[in-house]
Symmetry: C2
Subunit: 209 residues, 2 copies
Amino acid sequence: MARHAAYDRPAALASALNLFWERGFHATSIRDLEGALDMRPGSIYAAFGSKEQLFMEALHLYAQAMRQRLRATIATSASPLQALADYVRSLGSDLQDDMPSKACMLAKTVLESTKKEGALHAAAASALHDTELDMAALFEQAVQRGELPPRADPRRLARQAQASIIGLRVYAQRVGAQRAVVELADDIAATIERMRRYEPHGKKIEGSK
Amino acid sequence: MARHAAYDRPAALASALNLFWERGFHATSIRDLEGALDMRPGSIYAAFGSKEQLFMEALHLYAQAMRQRLRATIATSASPLQALADYVRSLGSDLQDDMPSKACMLAKTVLESTKKEGALHAAAASALHDTELDMAALFEQAVQRGELPPRADPRRLARQAQASIIGLRVYAQRVGAQRAVVELADDIAATIERMRRYEPHGKKIEGSK
DNA sequence: AATTATCTTGAACGATCGCTCAGAAAGTGG
DNA sequence: CCACTTTCTGAGCGATCGTTCAAGATAATT
């Protein structure tokens, strides 16, 4: 026996995500959000609690989408390593678009959050850790399929891959030329493919390089 | 025939650098700086013009120091590739300390600056580009010394190395465990060393891994 | 010591920040 | 149509932002 909310909460959250992703936490004001969400401050606070809680929700949404994309790419490929290489190459292509930001929002948040917003730092760090675990599982699969030698350390390979990807996306945020981004993505992908010295079932391919 | 300035400008600039490096541009207020520099607002504005100009000077100082460190490491080594690997390993060790931030201030600035502070973005991007050129020159040297095959592309290798280093430093900013940072730095360094298939003067070393 | 030139100080400006809340508006059930 | 419940609105809160500037303080020169 009452009124319905006029706004579409998921849509509003998506708009907030876009703005936060583009500008970061500190450079995004509630008044900016009022415009982007087409909501008045009272409604925003009723729906999301505070600027920090809204950012946190947006961050979780972003992390979920990012993780899903990685998993989706993996699902389409028979080879874990090839899947990761494909993922990196697809990043290189998509980073040309007019996204809110080319850089990873999790990395942006880790870098910009101070002690005052410790919760944001922790959330972003945790999400990056989850992605790292996903990639470690992928490398573990590669070991079990014989694409990597048994002595390969999936956790360390995952770290290295994630560092390269984050570096790629910082690079994309920095340069104007899309071509350089595609080249860099291609080089990173090629580095991953070069690890793949063994065929599934333990049969060796050819010598390196 | 007048009074001298009471503050030490270079020291004040260094203090400002530390604060900006730690918190970023938006999260650092003039009042924070008043405390860190032990200067009153009037003096700060007389000495540096504005918050943005002060940040810009600090950024240039940072870039200069960073570049000098890379060049210094290079100067101590006979092999360009080994020098770069050493540099990466030294980063992994130093990133354990209580620096203002473990992440690269240039990367932080590229990620946090919006259109309103376009000059900051451009300055940080330009400094990163300069570093990239330094590294490209290093790889070019490696080619000429025969450490890399003639077909190796120094510019693309430099891009990849820089992406990995920036990723390493984002990782360092994220995790609590120093050991993981050292491991990651070691893996990146090892990747660089693995490229070194030729000895100086064209003599081949052994086959790859 | 007086003068002069510069520097330091800190109150305060207008703008904006994140956020609140009383009142207007609107949909629901009787 | 009314009573009720919830939502929406936007003026405005206190705090803080970057910045300015008149007035006081200090050193060099005369």
